[in-house]
């Protein structure tokens, strides 16, 4: 498959979405290139999950359009794999089978390898109900990563993990993304995480993209670097103090 | 010591009222329609309650349980009741109505004589007067009971099976016989003549009978009166019964015309007839033990 660099992999055009008369997304424009890593941040309830679900084709939108490689998205986005915010492991399948869901061929070996990556190889024969919160999340992460999809949509994949495990998982995500050149959209509430991983960080507010910041740091990124800290703080201050109207205008 | 509490209670209440079980397709319906027995018993301070049953066995079941005191059935249910040790007594018998009972065959049936029944599938109600009639007919033709295939069917179901050709012949009684003859072009291969008398029997709960002989006598008398009325007013009788059974008047008319209503006392002849039936059923293993019908007859 030849990749045309000029055609964006994902193209959102004036996307509007409302639930029962409450507008959640109000004219979202976004072009994501093939192999790009986007991070989305924003306040709780601002519509991050909704945006991911729209790209995955799991939700109808009211206006605008979504194109995947210049083709209007109709129904499910088969190229994408989404890791849901709420895990959604099948309680009647053991951990291994949950990870192997939808895989073809020798899924067992692939799934075991993915479980090893998230450090849960030893739990592969357990029922999901026996896992801790963070363990469940890692199984869901493994399930999303194992498909090596063209588009990877991660909805707060590391929200329940401690600092150490979180670093390991960030490394894992970055490593797979680099190797496979997967177009990735990561929703996170951790700005540092966004800056550490993404090529571009996007901030959603009041249903609109109010900040779109390119991160031109070399990888792997050092969180202690001054540039890194500066960028993080810049974004953070925009979230924490959204009344800086001038900044918003500049970005537009 | 007369059975369960339920029965005891019911027997008590029967002192002031009598519960009569009837079937729509029987002579008591005439009595009920005329309303004479109520008047007679009112003089004695006894109220009449009518309970409808769809089949003789169900009526015997209620009689056994003490839920009714008196009723009429065909000739075989009392035999089963006696065999099971139920406290019932024969009170009186009806006239023979052999003409309306018989073996029906469809139009163009290959069966032309009793002997042709061999190997055929024949529908009837197990343990009914028809069952007895069939056994006697086979006997007469020199056939064994095992030469035919029985299909135990209630009259309504049998009628459908008969029309559909699921059975080759059907042994039944009036008004089913008449209705099928007239409306399905069926023929009667034989009727009950010389095979069975197919009487009605009037039966009562033994405890009730012991204490209320007088009342039973009045009822039997009234049945006789209503029978006489029926025999003399066949037209009125037809218009009375037809809407009850929802069978067309022609069939009812045919059935009414070929029988005579009336009550016979329990003569030796009737006892003998009944005993012969009991013995036959014993040999057919329909009842588990031999019985003496006389023991259940009211003196």
């Amino acid at each position: 498959m030849k990749k045309d660099a000029r055609v964006p992999h994902i193209h959102l055009n004036q996307l509007k979405k409302s639930f029962d008369h409450t507008v959640v997304l109000d004219g979202i424009n976004l072009k994501v290139n093939q192999g790009e890593f986007i991070a989305i941040v924003g306040k709780s309830g601002c519509g991050k999950s909704t945006l991911l679900r729209l790209i995955a084709g799991l939700e109808h939108y009211n206006e605008g359009s979504i194109s995947i490689k210049d083709k209007e998205l109709a129904g499910l986005n088969t190229q994408a794999r989404i890791m849901f915010q709420d895990g959604r492991l099948l309680p009647w399948k053991r951990v291994l089978e949950n990870v192997g869901l939808g895989l073809k061929g020798d899924w067992r070996q692939t799934a075991i390898a993915a479980l090893r990556d998230v450090g849960l190889e030893g739990r592969m024969h357990d029922w999901p109900s026996k896992l801790s919160g963070g363990q469940k999340q890692r199984v869901a992460l493994a399930r999303a990563l194992v498909h090596k999809p063209e588009i990877l949509l991660l909805d707060e994949p590391l929200g329940a993990l401690d600092a150490l495990t979180r670093l390991e998982m960030q490394e894992l995500i970055e490593c797979i993304w680099e190797k496979e050149k997967i177009t990735t959209i990561l929703v996170t509430h951790d700005v540092e995480e966004a800056v550490a991983l993404a090529d571009r960080v996007i901030l959603i507010e009041d249903g609109k993209i109010v900040l779109s910041k390119n991160i031109n740091l070399s990888r792997p990124r050092q969180k202690t670097q001054q540039v890194f800290v500066n960028i993080s703080e810049e974004i953070l201050s925009r979230i924490v103090d959204p009344n800086e109207q001038n900044l918003r205008l500049i970005i537009k | 010591q007369d059975g369960g509490t339920q029965q005891g209670k019911d027997a008590m209440s029967s002192d002031k009222s009598i519960r009569i079980g009837y079937q729509k397709n029987g002579p008591l319906v005439i009595l009920k329609s005329l309303g004479t027995v109520e008047k007679e018993l009112e003089k004695k301070g006894v109220k009449v309650e009518w309970k409808e049953f769809q089949a003789g066995p169900a009526l015997m079941e209620a009689l056994n349980a003490g839920s009714i005191d008196f009723g009429r059935t065909g000739d075989s249910p009392p035999i089963f009741a006696q065999a099971s040790g139920s406290p019932i007594v024969y009170v009186a018998a009806g006239y023979s109505k052999y003409e309306g009972s018989g073996i029906l065959i469809p139009k163009n049936s290959p069966i032309q004589s009793l002997a042709d029944l061999k190997g055929k599938k024949i529908g009837f109600v197990k343990g009914s007067s028809s069952h007895y009639l069939l056994v006697k007919a086979l006997e007469k033709a020199g056939l064994d009971y095992s030469d035919i295939t029985p299909a135990y069917l209630q009259p309504g179901d049998a009628r459908v099976a008969f029309e559909q050709g699921s059975i080759d012949a059907w042994v039944t009684w009036d008004p089913f016989t008449a209705d099928t003859q007239l409306n399905s072009d069926a023929t009667l291969l034989v009727n009950g003549e010389g095979l069975t008398s197919d009487r009605d029997f009037f039966v009562a709960n033994a405890n009730y009978a012991k204490k209320n002989k007088e009342i039973l006598e009045i009822i039997v008398n009234q049945i006789q009166h209503s029978s006489e009325w029926a025999n003399g007013h066949q037209k009125e009788l037809v218009t009375m019964i037809a809407p009850l059974l929802k069978i067309d008047e022609k069939s009812i008319e045919m059935a009414v015309q070929r029988r005579e209503y009336g009550v016979d006392p329990l003569t030796d002849e009737i006892k003998k007839e009944q005993q012969a039936k009991a013995d036959t059923f014993y040999h057919l293993k329909i009842i588990p033990k031999e019985i003496h019908v006389e023991e259940a007859m009211m003196d």
């Binding site: - | 369960g4 339920q6 309970k51 409808e52 349980a65 309504g156």
Partner: protein
């Protein structure tokens, strides 16, 4: 406009099959493919219905049966509900009673009639007893299942938040089991009619079951078919009631 048209069609589709059957049946009857002596044409059945209605017989039968059905349903349904709840919640009563109930459930009413007559006589009590008995089991089994399947996590949460006894029951257990309980009720609304016809073979002189069985005895095919149609319509009606309850009480399921 178009949406309304669509909704209209959606409301009609369920009736397509029954109506189609009726039409075919009528056509075949006219054609003579179906002999009317054996299976009367719908028009004949309709005539029978008119006739029975004009004499008031049909409404009598229906109203008497409805009375029996309702009473039996209430008694049996409530009993099944309470037994289901008890056995769903309390381990001991479950151990003690469930086996016995599962055994009773399997006994056909037709076989029970002799005993029922012994215990309850041949009047209304026995009929209502049978309906109640029939209704009890589907309600019981679905209530039991519903309660056993309420998410344990939510019950734990309820307890941890100080809910106990009836509060825990009405806030957590009952709503969690409700969807399954409604299935039981829906099913039992059907069973109600099925047992009523058996019950109405016991010395009855009215009721829709009596009408049907009487017609069966004398092979009045039009009345038999009429009563079958009435049962079918009752079925649809019961189902609408059940669906209404579902929509009302399970709103949160969207």
């Amino acid at each position: 406009m178009q949406a309304r048209f669509k909704a209209g069609i959606r409301r009609m589709i369920p009736w397509a099959l029954p109506v189609l059957l009726l039409v075919l049946w009528q056509l075949f009857s006219w054609n003579g493919v179906i002999s009317d002596r054996i299976l009367p044409a719908p028009s004949d059945v309709f005539t029978a219905a008119i006739e029975l209605t004009s004499t008031g017989e049909l409404t009598d039968h229906i109203s008497i049966s409805l009375g029996r059905a309702t009473l039996g349903f209430l008694i049996g349904g409530l009993l099944g509900f309470f037994l289901g709840i008890m056995n769903g919640i309390f381990r001991f009563s479950d151990l003690l009673l469930d086996t016995s109930i599962q055994m009773l459930r399997n006994i056909p009413h037709l076989a029970l009639i002799p005993l029922v007559i012994l215990w309850f006589g041949i009047d209304e009590t026995s009929k209502i007893f049978l309906v109640a008995l029939g209704v009890l089991f589907p309600v019981y089994i679905n209530t039991y299942h519903g309660i056993k399947n309420v998410e344990g996590d939510l019950i734990e949460m309820g307890k941890a938040y100080g809910l106990r006894g009836s509060k825990l029951f009405f806030s957590v257990i009952f709503p969690g089991a409700l969807s399954s309980i409604l299935v039981g009720i829906r099913f039992s609304l059907g069973v109600m009619w099925l047992t009523l016809i058996v019950a109405e073979t016991i010395s009855a002189h009215s009721g829709i079951g009596y009408m049907a069985m009487n017609a069966r005895e004398f092979m009045q095919m039009d009345v038999i078919v009429l009563s079958i149609l009435i049962y079918a319509l009752f079925g649809k009606f019961s189902d609408m009631v059940a669906k209404y309850m579902e929509e009302k009480w399970l709103k949160w399921k969207t």
